[in-house]
């Protein structure tokens, strides 16, 4: 028999592992977002693609820069920077100047992730932090909703997309209000079918509710997603806004409108479920989700802004460590 002893390794058990890895989970989310992304490109044209590309480029380049600085090569391999860039891009209006989208990607990774210590250490969802920065810095372009492509060629690029960096932030374009804006300021309800299929105004990724749900189901099947978070968010929104509708059906939107309008599905399925910034414990995720749902309705109905998903998620992100601490599961036999 051949002498094997000198070659033997001493790795400790368990040697067996289940197949999923962190990069494959990140890639699954990218796959899940593909249909909704393609729909956004179809509805908004080439300009939308450029906005997404700018957001992703900002995120990936920042990640690469800091990975080089810290001499850690592996952080680019896990696809999390691409995902952050894509998620950020999907929350931006299609007519946004490209340099703003790029800046958003830089801030999302730089301030949202790297300064916390990299992947797994950040308190807030990086994509939403980037968007919050942009909304605070460039409020007008961030709330200017260009119209759908309609009969225009796919390759038509809105002039506002190509605004010069730091010189122009505002470019006059034909724009109108998003469904939530219409509801809030003019009590005008957009038909539900438009909301579900995506031919309404809004940020890139928040328009097509059905495709977002489809991706969510894919993630649930692949066990990449804690189903409790989207379910509890949507339940809280339905119950809370349902109660309000019962009181005054004209002033307050119906639960179905609340679910399919704005960024709720995008946020509930793809952003609130970011494992890094959501609670670990099952009871904690219910509290987290219900908190987001209630905050969304509160901000939308009573706040100064038509949309509140971003702030709702960021606020509950901040509460996550505390939620985790107080919802530790009972230990077996104790």
């Amino acid at each position: 028999m051949k002498q094997k002893d000198p070659d033997l390794l001493l790795l400790h058990a368990p040697l067996l592992r289940q197949g999923m890895t962190t990069p494959s989970a990140m890639r699954d989310v990218l796959y899940a977002l593909t249909p909704a992304t393609l729909a956004a490109l179809w509805f908004f044209g080439l300009g939308a693609l450029l906005v997404l590309a700018a957001g992703i480029a900002g995120a990936v380049l920042t990640e690469w820069f800091f990975a080089r600085l810290q001499k850690r090569g592996e952080t680019l391999l896990d696809a999390s920077a691409i995902l952050t860039g894509l998620l950020l891009g999907l929350t931006l209006p299609p007519g946004l100047p490209l340099w703003i989208a790029f800046l958003g990607g830089v801030v999302a990774i730089g301030l949202g992730k790297v300064i916390w210590g990299g992947l797994g250490h950040n308190l807030f969802n990086p994509a939403l932090l980037g968007r919050a920065f942009l909304l605070a810095t460039f409020p007008i372009p961030m709330t200017t909703w260009t119209s759908l492509r309609g009969d225009e060629s796919f390759f038509h690029i809105s002039a506002s997309n190509l605004a010069l960096p730091f010189m122009q932030t505002k470019v006059d374009v034909v724009s109108s209000a998003s469904p939530l804006g219409l509801m809030k300021f003019e009590q005008e309800v957009t038909p539900l079918t438009n909301l579900m299929f995506g031919n309404t105004l809004g940020s890139l990724g928040e328009t097509s509710g059905l495709l977002l749900l489809l991706g969510g189901i894919y993630l649930w099947v692949r066990r990449d997603l804690d189903w409790r978070i989207p379910v509890s968010i949507l339940l809280a929104v339905v119950v809370f806004s349902g109660c309000l509708t019962l009181v005054d059906a004209v002033r307050f939107p119906t639960p179905w409108f609340s679910i399919f309008s704005g960024g709720l599905l995008l946020g509930a399925i793809y952003m609130a479920t970011d494992p890094v910034t959501s609670p670990l414990t099952p009871r904690g995720t219910w509290i987290f989700g219900i908190g987001i749902g209630v905050l969304v309705v509160l901000i939308r109905v009573y706040g100064g802004l038509p949309e509140g998903v971003m702030y709702a998620i960021l606020l509950m992100n901040a509460a996550t460590p505390l939620i985790d601490r107080y919802t530790q599961p009972r230990i077996f036999g104790r």
Partner: protein, 446 residues
Amino acid sequence: MNTLRLLRRNFDHGVHPAHLKQQTEDLSIQRVPFVSHYVMPLGQHIGVPCKSVVEVGERVERGQLIAKPGGFVSTALHSPVTGTINEIGDFRGADGQFAPAIQIAADPYATQQLGSSGGIDWQPLSLEEFIGAVQMAGIVGMGGAAFPSHVKFSVPDGIKIRHLLINGAECEPYLTNDHRLMVERPEDLLLGAEIVRQKLGAEETIIGVEENKPEAIEILGQHIQPEQSVRVVPMQVKYPQGAEKMLIKTVFDKEVPAGQLPRDVEVCVNNVGTIVAIADYFLRGVPSIERIVTVSGPGASYPANLIVPLGTPVREVLRFCGGLKDETREVIMGGPMMGRPTASLDVPVLKGTSGILAFTDAETARPQEYPCIRCGRCLEACPYFLNPSRFARLARARMYDEMEQYSVMDCVECGCCTFACPSHIPIVQLIRTGKDALRASKEQPE
């Protein structure tokens, strides 16, 4: 979830590794030939090492006592072979440490027939006599932990054992030694169970078997006599179904309180192999001198289920199985989830060695480790509802006291967390580091 639980009881959490038993589950147990040298470590069970009662140069018969118990939580040791005592000294074990052991040179001309005349009349024995007999037979838990069985049977006053639970879960992938024992020796298993049940005064015997062993479940069912109070409970295939406390949860839907033992919920758990060893001793007078070992894994040329005399070097067992494949990179003693790697093939098979598994590059490749993304899969996997990700973080920061505050000592190191981690963080390995450091600091106060 609750309706499902009514249909079939189970423990919560756990993981589902591929069971990988196909290589050996249909192979009959065969006997390994005797080899030239045997090494019997004096501390191959949990507890106090035994004390040698032989001298160098002395001739010993197969089955003869060579070391007596060193205390109550200790057991006897018998020669696995007829031959002469070659050396009494320190030998390297699988963990790399030197430990006292007795080396026996086999007599190549001996018949190796057992000197013992036959069984022991167990009926008139009192519980104390029975416990003493089990201790002197050297019988320990054969599932892998090697905890002396007589200690389990010694119940303090005021506690009554009502259920004898026999562990045939064999939840570790690859291993099929318990499976083959149930299939090939059901009569002995049931007789051994009857002896233990009567001596403990338990009301019934329950044999828990995972559903991936339908043959064992069927054969045991055929051999149970109607008047016997024995039940076979098929259980879901889930790791670690065979952990004592998980088994009790599945079968009785009871949680053994932390820090307590199965006897505190009126249950005594024994492995299938242990019960057969008890049957061997009381029916045929054979003490614990051999055990069933599964040789398997991707690096094993000819996987097998073998009867191996204790003390046989792993190298000889592997040689009998056609040696290791060239791509073998690691040999594990025990199962792939909880077993221990060995650096040398000269280490002997011990009472707790349920398997010898050879793994290749594919299993031993160290995958790129990623940061913890707090996905919570380790929490969902941990059968004790602990927070393994936090233990891993604290262990890396050497914050061992904090680990203790979060009940790290409740961890049984089943490895579910490492199995489940998508970032390939060696969680259970880090937890072991922390537990070892805590034990060390307890033993040596400043």
